[in-house]
């Protein structure tokens, strides 16, 4: 047995945009155990159901995360709409799908940049984030916001996006696709990048299922499961395949995220081609009474929104199970047996969002 020592990793670390702490038990340069510690930024947002009524909670849900804020707002609205039997207008469903996929694109591109930064490929990082800016510009044009959009509401969308603007989106997507092809080609084929990602953090399909993983982390080990196939919003009307990789390592997870960005462009194009005219919201009467759990596919994986209400202005419970939360047990598993130098790569491989996790 080599020299055993405990190395603290985080909560402040160059690769961590948000605080998570790991106690890494090392034998020489090998990690033999990793104990995660979170809770540095727990905000207790779920507890705000006591203070904010069921309509105001949409704004709270959006603020769970600054990257996938739209999805959180949507997930909460979808659960309440199921409880209240609200039928959302078709145009709103399509707009929700478009915003969902734009969110997925900018989240994955942000991650590609962060990963490039983690293994020291600065120009790839800058290129990725340059492209991401164009998506944030689209958000700003449609909603006025680049991080929090406040466009989704119970019963539909708060405002419409004109068809002319959607056509402008198509032109922007053409530009983004051209830029992305260069970035993704480098990300997936560069010898130095592959050297840092291939064979690192291997999890078999059986292991990812056992550990309760979700999202690209799950599909990177060959499991074909994507909650969008449940058909919420307009996904029932859109043709898309589930992107998977049989590499079962960090490269496989990167491949899934890279291909999903391109797939999102295809989904948005289909949605814009099929979007019907008409209203974007419906009148909501009364208060929710009942319970429902919505499962949606956020960029980082499956998110669950459990809402329980008893016919009052204030709901009784909102519980959000975020994808990063589900992937933390798998992270500790991949860290066991890895080299100390691979720890930052493996932490980033789950695309950690600690704000989501701690809510």
């Amino acid at each position: 047995m080599g020299n055993r020592s405990v190395v603290p990793f985080g909560p402040q670390h160059p690769v961590l945009p948000e605080p998570i702490h790991l106690d890494l038990v090392l034998e020489d340069e090998k990690v033999v155990d990793a104990i995660p510690s979170i809770g540095f930024i727990h905000r207790g947002l779920e507890k705000l159901v006591d203070k904010k009524d069921f309509n105001e909670m949409v704004y709270v849900a959006e603020r769970i995360c600054g990257i996938c804020s739209f999805g959180h707002g949507f997930g909460y609205c979808d659960a309440v709409e199921h409880i209240m039997n609200i039928e959302v207008p078709k145009r709103a469903d399509y707009l929700r799908t478009i915003f969902f996929e734009l969110s997925r694109m900018h989240s994955h591109i942000l991650w590609l940049g962060l990963m490039a930064d983690a293994f020291g490929f600065e120009s790839l990082f800058m290129d990725s984030w340059r492209v991401r800016e164009k998506i944030l510009d689209m958000f700003e044009a449609a909603t006025g916001g680049r991080v929090i959009f406040s466009i989704v509401k119970i019963g539909g969308m708060r405002r419409d996006v004109p068809n002319e603007m959607l056509r402008e989106f198509l032109k922007s997507l053409d530009d983004i696709e051209r830029d992305l092809e260069i970035i993704i080609r480098t990300f997936l084929n560069d010898r130095a990048v592959k050297g840092r990602l291939c064979g690192v953090g291997v999890l078999t399909p059986e292991q990812v299922e056992e550990l309760g993983c979700c999202g690209p982390y799950l599909r990177g080990s060959g499991i074909r499961r994507d909650t969008r196939k449940l058909g919420y919003a307009a996904y029932d009307d859109i043709e898309f395949d589930i992107v998977t990789s049989n590499d079962c390592d960090t490269y496989g997870r990167s491949y899934v995220r890279a291909m999903e960005v391109l797939q999102s462009i295809s989904i948005i194009r289909q949605a814009i081609a099929k979007i019907p005219d008409g209203p974007v919201d419906t009148v909501v009467k009364g208060f929710p009474n009942g319970e429902y759990m919505t499962r949606i596919e956020q960029p980082r994986g499956e998110a669950c929104f459990y809402v329980k209400a008893s016919g009052k202005k204030f709901i009784d419970r909102l519980r959000v199970r975020t994808p990063t939360f589900a992937n933390i047990p798998a992270l500790t598993q991949t860290l066991r047996g890895c080299d100390l130098a691979d720890v930052p790569i493996l932490v980033l491989a789950i695309d950690p969002c600690i704000s989501c996790t701690e809510r």
């Binding site: 727990h42 299922e209 499962r295 202005k313 009784d316 199970r321």
Partner: protein, 118 residues
């Protein structure tokens, strides 16, 4: 997608969890909810493919809840969360943070307090 919810008793939790595991389900989430009349509901959601199965029981919170982390390994994270936010004791967790998962300024902030006026 199929979705089933089954109400169970606290005593049968481990047997139910084992049976669900044997059917090939994975753990999706565990959620505690305060019940206005007193005590807590604990909801366990499991998935197989896109299908969903949930079990739920009511506890008064006076005696520890049994951990299912030796049946579904990721359960320790959810159970530690329930302990820290609701103040419910969970016994036999495979990884027990003993109240140190979340750093909350208020102990068990989601637990029952004096009746709040809504």
């Amino acid at each position: 997608m199929e979705s089933i919810l089954k109400e169970i008793s606290e005593e049968t939790l481990l047997n139910e969890a084992q049976a669900i595991r044997a059917e090939g389900y994975r753990l999706i989430q565990i959620c505690a909810t305060t019940v206005k009349e007193g005590g807590y509901e604990i909801l366990y959601s499991f998935g197989k493919g896109y299908d969903e199965m949930s079990i739920r029981f009511h506890t008064d919170g006076k005696k520890p809840v049994q951990s299912i982390s030796h049946i579904f390994s990721p359960a320790w994270l959810y159970e530690n969360e329930i302990h820290d936010l609701f103040g419910l004791d969970v016994c036999d967790m495979v990884l027990d943070f003993r109240g140190g998962l979340y750093r909350t300024s208020v102990k068990a902030p989601f637990a029952h307090k004096e009746e709040e006026t809504k």
